[in-house]
């Protein structure tokens, strides 16, 4: 099912030079310049906002909103300290975010792995209908999902509860995990389980002892992407979360008030929200192509 086989970040051929950055040797000097101008401009465009956020989070006093933006300043931790002391303590928000993201990702991964394996091996007639249902559930517009869930949750008393938020996140994470694990399992030839069955494994044993250990990359990638999607959510939380279930993105949005915005604290929250996801996301960089194209393109 793969359209490509080479890793996205692997050199197309062995490098000619041993140090520094080098190029396709057939490249003209003009081509080299154009390439680096394109990449340089794009890197600046990509990185400046992130660097500016990081710097802002360490600016004390009025530095963060200086009319003449400051690249050089005396670093201060007052924004971070302010987030964890006084009236607006960030810890409950962090806790809610962690619980909602980890539990929804974990449950989705467990159920999605089982279902994804079943889906990759089933010979049922309506398989394509089932696949289509799963992918369209994942892709359903959040706004269209929030509405009926709001009514159902109100009915079931799940508004402003963590279980409610976890269920809401599973509306997109469970179909995502199922679909993606199906794509990873489809890469493993069925002859492996057949061999295990012949040597006396049960079907469950073949799955558990043979297939799962071969799918570690898929499991980790799926789990991490589910975690990122849930952690980064704002649309669901803005409707379902109340005082006892507010998450970090909500905390960030609440710093925007009628009277003004505390940009120092906001950039600090931004940093707290972003850094863990960047670390996790880059940890599975090799499989990101597969994960984010829902298994349609494999980069590995």
């Amino acid at each position: 099912m793969s359209t490509t086989t080479a890793p996205a970040d692997a050199p197309a051929r062995p490098p000619k030079r041993s140090t520094g950055l080098s190029f396709d040797q057939k490249m003209t000097p003009g081509g080299t310049v154009v390439t680096w101008v394109v990449l340089g401009v794009f890197l600046l465009w990509t990185l400046i906002p992130l660097v500016w956020m990081l710097l802002g989070s360490f600016k004390g006093g009025d530095d963060v909103t200086a009319a003449d933006p400051k690249w050089v300043f005396t670093p201060s931790l007052e924004n971070y300290v302010g987030l964890f002391t006084g009236a607006n303590n960030l810890l409950p928000y962090i806790w809610h975010s962690v619980v909602a993201a980890v539990v929804s990702a974990g449950l989705s991964l467990v159920l999605g792995t089982l279902a994804g394996y079943g889906l990759s091996r089933t010979r049922m007639k309506r398989k394509s209908d089932l696949s289509f249902w799963i992918i369209s559930t994942r892709m359903a517009p959040i706004a269209a999902v929030v509405l009926p869930l709001f009514l159902m949750f109100r009915f079931a008393g799940l508004i402003d509860t963590l279980p409610g938020l976890i269920l809401a996140y599973m509306t997109f994470n469970l179909p995502f995990a199922t679909w993606l694990m199906q794509a990873f399992f489809a890469e493993i030839p069925p002859s492996l389980e057949e061999a295990a069955l012949v040597s006396g494994c049960t079907r469950w044993g073949a799955f558990w002892n043979v297939i799962l250990p071969l799918s570690k990359a898929g499991l980790v990638t799926t789990g991490i992407l589910c975690l990122v999607f849930a952690w980064n959510d704002y649309a669901f939380a803005s409707v379902f979360a109340g005082p006892s279930s507010q998450t970090l993105p909500i905390a960030a949005s609440q710093l925007v008030t009628q009277t003004g915005v505390d940009w120092g604290q906001l950039t600090a929250i931004g940093t707290i929200v972003v850094v863990p996801m960047v670390v996790l996301g880059l940890a599975v960089k090799r499989w990101l192509v597969t994960g984010l194209s829902l298994g349609a393109v494999t980069g590995e």
Binding site: I142, V145, R154, R203, V273, V274
Partner: protein, 316 residues
């Protein structure tokens, strides 16, 4: 895993019924079978989280939703649908959505593919550059929006400051056209890396011998790119396009937190109008009709996506 190396020849010692089983793998099964059993929990869960809400949404779209003391539906027939089809504000929102979609996805494809082609030429250091390029994708959209507001603030924004330095003195989020451009660019900032990532995977998969043949035939760089490379990764590009398209209707956090649809509805794409209708005016029935319209668009795109996977043998 030692089992993975087990050979079918080990079957000599097997019980006869197991050998029988292996000989007839397509024997009709009773009940769900093993794959069906594994799928059951997730399917039941998803039914609860997808089919029941879907039916609820349909019910809501034909009703007036009363929220006092729980929730109750009052049958209203086709009222909401008639309103949805004739509401000029909603059609304006659809037009805004289409424009927003064309601008963001168009720019993302253009820039994303360009950067991928450039990155593909870099041999050493590609991994590092790619890692840096990918960063925006992991940033929560709501943080992207807030960060954008910080950067384009008329008094202390870094970007507004730079614009002033070259003689452009504006409040980007303050007027319709610039606000639209600003929120579109925030989306482009966040999602261009996805296109780059997918395109780069496609480029890495192009058969080198084809490229060598093209070079021997005297094809130039540009001709090779447009006549050989792009056609051979057209499926990959289509996948990137479809995924971004479906997500473009999905996410609206950036706009919510920056302009919330303003100024003068210039950035009020359909999901924002739905949220406003549902959670500010509490007209959930009408919002449900809007939601079903959006769902129809997504389902049509998902259909194309799945068909593409089937036809090209990308899935199954």
């Amino acid at each position: 895993m030692t089992q993975t190396t087990a050979q079918p020849t080990g079957g000599q010692e097997l019980a006869p019924e197991r050998v029988q089983q292996m000989k007839q793998p397509r024997r009709p099964r009773r009940g769900l079978g093993f794959p069906g059993l594994l799928m059951a929990p997730a399917v039941i869960f998803m039914a609860g989280l997808s089919i029941i809400p879907f039916l609820t949404l349909i019910g809501m779209s034909f009703s007036r939703v009363r929220l006092l003391g729980g929730a109750a539906l009052e049958w209203r027939g086709l009222d909401n649908w008639a309103r949805a089809l004739t509401d000029p504000n909603l059609w304006t929102s659809w037009a805004t959505t289409v424009l927003y979609f064309v601008v963001t996805v168009g720019l993302e494809l253009l820039i994303g593919i360009g950067v991928a082609v450039a990155l593909h030429r870099v041999l050493r250091g590609r991994g590092l550059v790619l890692s840096l390029v990918l960063l925006p994708m992991f940033v929560a959209p709501v943080i992207v929006g807030l960060l954008g507001r910080y950067l384009v603030d008329p008094t202390f924004g870094l970007y507004t400051n730079w614009l002033q330095a070259v003689g452009i003195d504006i409040d980007p989020l303050g007027s319709p056209v610039t606000a639209f451009i600003a929120v579109a660019l925030m989306d482009v900032w966040e999602w261009t890396p996805l296109i780059t990532l997918i395109t780069l995977a496609g480029l890495s998969g192009v058969n080198p011998s084809v490229l060598e043949a093209a070079a021997l035939d005297g094809a130039g760089r540009t001709r090779t790119l447009f006549h050989i490379i792009f056609p051979s990764i057209s499926n990959v590009l289509l996948v990137a396009f479809l995924i971004r398209s479906m997500d473009a209707v999905r996410y609206f956090d950036i706009i919510t937190i920056t302009t919330n649809g303003g100024p003068a509805d210039a950035t009020k794409i359909v999901p924002l109008r739905l949220y406003e209708t549902a959670f500010r005016f509490f007209d959930l029935g009408y919002a449900a009709a809007i939601g079903l319209m959006m769902l129809a668009v997504t389902i049509a795109m998902a259909k194309v996506f799945v068909r593409l996977l089937d036809r090209k043998g990308l899935a199954q």
